[in-house]
């Protein structure tokens, strides 16, 4: 699925991909047009998705160095899961979005996940509404066939949910949505969706609008996700895949207790998924190696997680990868793979028509050579900036057909990545501190 020509690309897809690449972010769709290598990893995750569809659970930690393409990989798996009929939630962790908190930050994560709720028909997010609609449609059809009232039927279908934590209120909110639907009351439907998205911040508010006494809050985020997984199944989807990227934000939390409380949530997920008590539910986490393996502050500082996530000793001694382990290490792209990636970008740029590109292979060679001379090895260790520069390069050539690629090449500048949470320029000309190492 990597380099095959797709023979004509929808312009919207093409522009979306290129725009994302120029902004230095992972495109939301069309990833298969770019993907190179990692066949074995993709296959492994494909099996996971099938397991979820069959009623099982899966959890994976995608670990790779900075710039190895973790986020890209996560998005790729997400798009595959959507194709397979699953519902996907995804969010980046941030200082104000985490798994456990007392100041609303866990609810914020939940809200972000639900805002980015996507399905095959709505791959770009905001699919919660249509998901509920689909459930209602299903219920109505069933009610018609069985000669029951829709309310009864909702109750029956969600009865099982009512037995789990928070399930009773969940069922009532869905019922409220139906009432809003039936009475043509737009507001009630909106309120119900707001509740499902975790946007109510007080119980009083929820009681007033929907007559339910609970809300999604910091303490029950994971329980709500489990409920959602079962609901999604009843709405006719294959299952729920939750992608949580930038684990490094938990690692950076400055208080040990807060950090461990967050790791404890991950442990709950891990236990449920590995023991089989979660259904139709999968988790994908993305993080750098230290976030996992650092025994001082990383996941491995939490003993229970360390013992469960430690690498397979046999596999390590044998020098092979154990694809069944929850931790999946992504190797950095090799220079050859980067070259293929640039070929794919060129192909996307040329609307999927291999003959249409104005940039010949020797220009590609020269580009890679130029990058390596300009910033050294970093060019293939952090593909983001190299790809960004390449898309810029293509776009200028495209708009000015009179220009020669060889003239332009000398002007290509690639910035070395220096990520920081503090705003302001990083002065990389500074000799003593630019490449500072402790």
């Amino acid at each position: 699925m990597s380099t095959e020509a797709k023979g004509g690309l929808r312009p919207r897809v093409r522009d979306g991909i290129l725009q994302a690449l120029r902004a230095g972010v992972t495109p939301r769709y069309g990833l298969q047009h770019l993907q190179v290598g990692r066949l074995r990893e993709v296959e492994t995750l494909l099996e996971d998705i099938e397991r979820i569809a069959d009623g099982g659970a899966a959890i994976r930690f995608i670990v790779g160095e900075y710039g190895s393409g973790k986020s890209f990989f996560l998005q790729l798996i997400r798009s595959i899961a959507l194709e397979k009929g699953a519902v996907c939630l995804h969010a980046d962790l941030a200082p104000d979005r985490r798994l456990h908190a007392s100041g609303g930050q866990a609810r914020m994560l939940y809200a972000e996940l639900l805002r980015n709720c996507s399905t095959r028909s709505k791959p770009e997010g905001g699919a919660l509404g249509s998901m509920v609609e689909r459930f209602i449609a299903e219920v109505r059809r069933h009610a018609g066939e069985a000669g029951m009232s829709v309310e009864q039927c909702i109750e029956e279908r969600l009865h099982e949910l009512s037995e789990s934590v928070g399930g009773y209120d969940f069922a009532r909110v869905i019922a409220a949505y139906w009432q809003g639907y039936e009475r043509g009351c737009e507001q009630l439907r909106d309120e119900a969706l707001r509740w499902l998205r975790g946007e109510f911040s007080t119980r009083t508010e929820a009681r007033k609008s929907l007559g339910v006494g609970s809300i999604v809050d910091d303490g029950n985020v994971y329980d709500r996700l489990k409920l959602l997984a079962r609901f999604v199944r009843r709405a006719g989807y294959a299952g729920l895949l939750v992608c949580i990227d930038e684990l490094v934000n938990l690692y950076k939390l400055p208080q040990r207790q807060t950090r461990l409380a967050n790791y404890e949530q991950i442990l709950r997920m891990l236990n449920d998924c590995l023991q089989g008590s979660a259904e139709h539910l999968g988790f994908l986490f993305g993080g750098t190696p230290e976030v996992l393996f650092d025994t001082g502050k990383g996941l491995f500082s939490y003993e229970a997680l360390r013992s469960r996530l430690e690498e397979n000793n046999f596999a390590r001694r044998a020098g092979v990868v154990d694809y069944a382990a929850p931790v999946l290490r992504l190797a950095n792209l090799t220079p050859e793979e980067l070259y293929l990636l640039l070929c794919n970008v060129r192909l996307v740029h040329a609307n999927g028509d291999p003959g249409a590109s104005s940039v010949p292979d020797e220009a590609l060679d020269a580009f890679v050579h130029h990058c390596s001379r300009h910033i050294g090895d970093a060019y293939f260790r952090t593909p983001r900036n190299t790809v960004k520069a390449f898309v810029d390069f293509l776009s200028v050539l495209d708009q000015h057909p009179d220009l020669q690629w060889s003239q332009l090449l000398g002007m290509v500048r690639i910035e070395a990545d220096a990520p920081s949470d503090m705003p302001g320029n990083v002065d990389e000309d500074d000799d003593a501190l630019a490449d500072f190492r402790l």
């Binding site: 900075y66 208080q255 750098t288 502050k297 220096a418 503090m422 302001g424 003593a432």
Partner: protein
């Protein structure tokens, strides 16, 4: 009330409030501050005596600006060094802010949660805060700060004169710099300062880069300040100091008689002295069957005892006197006291003024009494006792105080300990930060401008070795496990610490405890309890000085331990001797002590001569501060002489003038050592809070800069020593 053009610029509601106060007219500084502060486009420095209306001078126009523009979020950020001052400001501003419908929030450790909660949800109005609380806000609530201070129009700094040159002052500069960086805008600063020394030099400490923003200086025309002082002299036989308590009973009697019945602060120069004096005063209460109202207060008492005493002082119900050391000077909150008593010679005008500032608020005169002891003289008494230098130093300090002069802030220092604190705080504030960003904010444009990139890299590596910071794969710096522990420690927000006293031990016997705030070198002599000791060894982790009795000659009464005395003070002492006038504030005994000292000074012709040979000891009197005197002493020691200095007088044992001159001539011919080399001999270079976390070489460099002055010492040796004889 007289209405001026400036007054009419104020917002109507503010004018209304002023009318209600029934003032005759605005004070001159209030008048002159209106225009510049209303403009909100420059810094303003207001210098005036206590009770000259500085608070209103700043807040009337600043609040008027808020009433006019009603910015979103906190309008005025007001920073005070003490909680007590914040509470005081709150009382003074409450009515004004109510009239303007501006929330007024005191913000410190004792602020109720509900008041803070209101600000979390809806920041606004005037925030009164300490530097330590601001540190905590920036560290833990960076996003809130960005929102709350985004539209702030003024930063007002109260009691600005306590900050320049100190760890706290450096921290404050750094905090405001970080805040401005966070909101991406320069905030006009209004500094309120007591009249002291050179206002212009003080104003240079308003920003890390002086002159980077316009600054207007307003100095009060009226120099009136209501201070009453008295200096009481006591003659004590050497035995008293050698006795267990070291308390002169007559002095204790006087203290009891004068102070009982109202509230006072009694400052002693050491914890031991504070303890025994408090005990002596309590004894007297018991003997006379009256309730005890004298309590000790110092760093080695339990926090509980100290806080109970502070609370009792704050309540202002029962007469209470605290017998304290400098812990009370450093930002512990108490109410108003009637007067200040100072036992033993103070060390600086600045500290004397700060102590004095604790009395006489709310319009009363400040009262200061100094209780100074001198030895009864004997044939072999030390020259500094014969010169009555304790008395003369006290007089010199009082003269400077009354003239409104003060030690200038020290030249810019490295402040590496505070840099460590700010580095940790900045990393915690943002999460993950690049080394170059830290350097450019803190050192490049911030207050640590003496620190080069190379020095900073070495500091960061030092922190890394201790697991205070770690580096992610992509090169960003984050807190390490130890670093987290550090920032959550109770006193992390304070840049300063109260150093523990050193324990003095001789033959495994504890002979006492003293604060050591100046360089100690092995082999050096010190004076303690009326006796001379030789320093054998120093353990700065355990804070012990191992001593041996030294029987070389009679020691001076006081060894000149304690904080460093400034050049200005020693020069003023020389003036006191030369001018021969006797100030009116001396009691009879102090007057006769001064007479004796002057007679000795002139008999020895010390106006002309600065070196004396008595017996087999040469004495040098450079009349310079402890940095220069100490450096001369260290240079002489390195030249092989047995030199020591006690309170400004250098003793060189087993030496003649000729030997001295030969040694100095050789010294002047060779290249002088630098300050860092001198610091390498010193055994107690861990002084400030985080000094122990610094690489040795850098700590020595910073220490040398602070405590030694090689060029001035060389200059004195070259220019004075050989000129004297002619």
């Amino acid at each position: 009330m007289k209405v001026s053009t400036a007054f009419s610029l104020l917002h109507e509601d503010v004018r209304q409030w002023v009318w209600r106060q029934r003032w005759d007219a605005l004070r001159d500084i209030q008048e002159r501050a209106i225009g510049p502060i209303l403009q909100a486009d420059r810094d303003v420095m207001i210098s005036a005596a206590t009770a000259a209306g500085k608070t209103e001078a700043a807040f009337l126009p600043a609040c008027s600006h808020l009433a006019e523009f009603r910015p979103d979020g906190v309008g005025i950020l007001s920073i005070s060094p003490l909680k007590a001052l914040i509470n005081d400001q709150y009382r003074r501003l409450r009515e004004l802010c109510e009239m303007l419908r501006l929330p007024l929030t005191p913000w410190h450790g004792d602020t109720p949660y509900s008041a803070k909660q209101r600000q979390w949800e809806e920041p606004g109005g005037v925030l009164l805060i300490t530097p330590e609380s601001l540190e905590s806000l920036l560290l833990h609530r960076s996003e809130w700060c960005e929102r709350a201070f985004g539209a702030t129009s003024h930063v007002i700094i109260d009691e600005f004169h306590v900050f320049p040159g100190t760890e706290r002052g450096c921290q404050l500069q750094s905090l405001l710099h970080r805040l401005e960086f966070l909101i991406g805008r320069t905030l006009p600063r209004v500094a309120l300062s007591a009249t002291m020394g050179d206002v212009r030099r003080m104003a240079e400490y308003l920003r890390p880069t002086p002159g980077s923003y316009p600054c207007e200086i307003i100095v009060s025309d009226c120099s009136h300040s209501d201070v009453k002082v008295q200096l009481r002299g006591y003659r004590i036989p050497p035995e008293v100091l050698r006795s267990r308590t070291g308390v002169d009973q007559r002095m204790a009697d006087d203290l009891y008689r004068i102070l009982r019945g109202t509230s006072h602060l009694i400052f002693a120069n050491s914890r031991g002295c504070a303890e025994s004096l408090a005990a002596a005063l309590t004894d007297r209460c018991e003997r006379n069957a009256v309730p005890n109202e004298f309590f000790p207060h110092h760093g080695s008492l339990s926090r509980d005892l100290r806080e109970r005493l502070e609370a009792r002082l704050q309540e202002e119900v029962l007469p209470t006197s605290a017998v304290c050391t400098m812990t009370l000077e450093l930002g512990i909150d108490i109410g108003c006291v009637h007067s200040i008593a100072q036992i033993g010679t103070p060390h600086s005008v600045a500290s004397l003024r700060q102590r004095l500032g604790r009395s006489g608020r709310r319009g009363e005169a400040s009262i200061l009494r100094l209780f100074i002891s001198e030895y009864t003289l004997k044939e072999e008494s030390h020259i500094s006792d014969r010169l009555r230098m304790e008395t003369v130093q006290s007089i010199a300090l009082l003269e400077l105080l009354l003239q409104g002069r003060s030690e200038p802030p020290p030249p810019r220092q490295f402040h590496l300990s505070t840099l460590v604190q700010q580095t940790m705080s900045l990393i915690a504030q943002y999460g993950a930060v690049r080394a170059t960003q830290l350097w450019s904010l803190l050192c490049g444009s911030g207050p640590f401008s003496l620190v080069t990139r190379e020095m900073y890299a070495s500091i960061l590596r030092g922190l890394g070795e201790r697991d205070l910071i770690i580096q992610t794969r992509d090169g960003a710096l984050v807190l390490g496990c130890e670093g987290e522990r550090l920032i959550w420690r109770a006193h992390f927000y304070a840049a300063f610490n109260t150093p523990d006293d050193y324990r003095l031990e001789c033959d495994s016997r504890v002979i006492g405890r003293i604060p050591v705030d100046r360089p100690l070198v092995e082999g050096q002599q010190i004076v303690f309890g009326g006796m001379r000791w030789e320093v054998l060894n120093i353990d700065q982790d355990k804070r012990v000085v191992y001593l041996r009795r030294s029987l070389t000659g009679v020691p001076p009464a006081f060894g000149g331990q304690g904080p460093m005395v400034h050049d200005m003070v020693r020069r003023a002492m020389r003036e006191v001797y030369l001018r021969r006038n006797v100030p009116a504030y001396l009691d009879g005994s102090a007057r006769s002590l001064l007479q004796e000292g002057m007679e000795c000074f002139h008999a020895l012709n010390l106006g002309r001569v600065s070196q004396l040979s008595i017996g087999n000891t040469v004495h040098l009197l450079p009349w310079r501060g402890d940095a220069v005197t100490g450096t001369i002493t260290r240079l002489l020691c390195r030249a092989g002489l047995a030199a020591n200095h006690f309170g400004g007088v250098i003793d060189i044992r087993r030496c003649s003038i000729e030997q001295l001159h030969a040694a100095v001539a050789a010294l002047l011919d060779s290249a002088p050592p630098d300050e860092e080399e001198l610091a390498a001999d010193v055994a107690n270079t861990i002084v400030e809070k985080h000094d122990a976390l610094l690489p040795d070489a850098l700590r020595l460099r910073a220490y040398g800069r602070r405590y030694f002055d090689v060029p001035a010492a060389m200059e004195w040796l070259r220019d004075t020593l050989f000129v004297d004889e002619k």
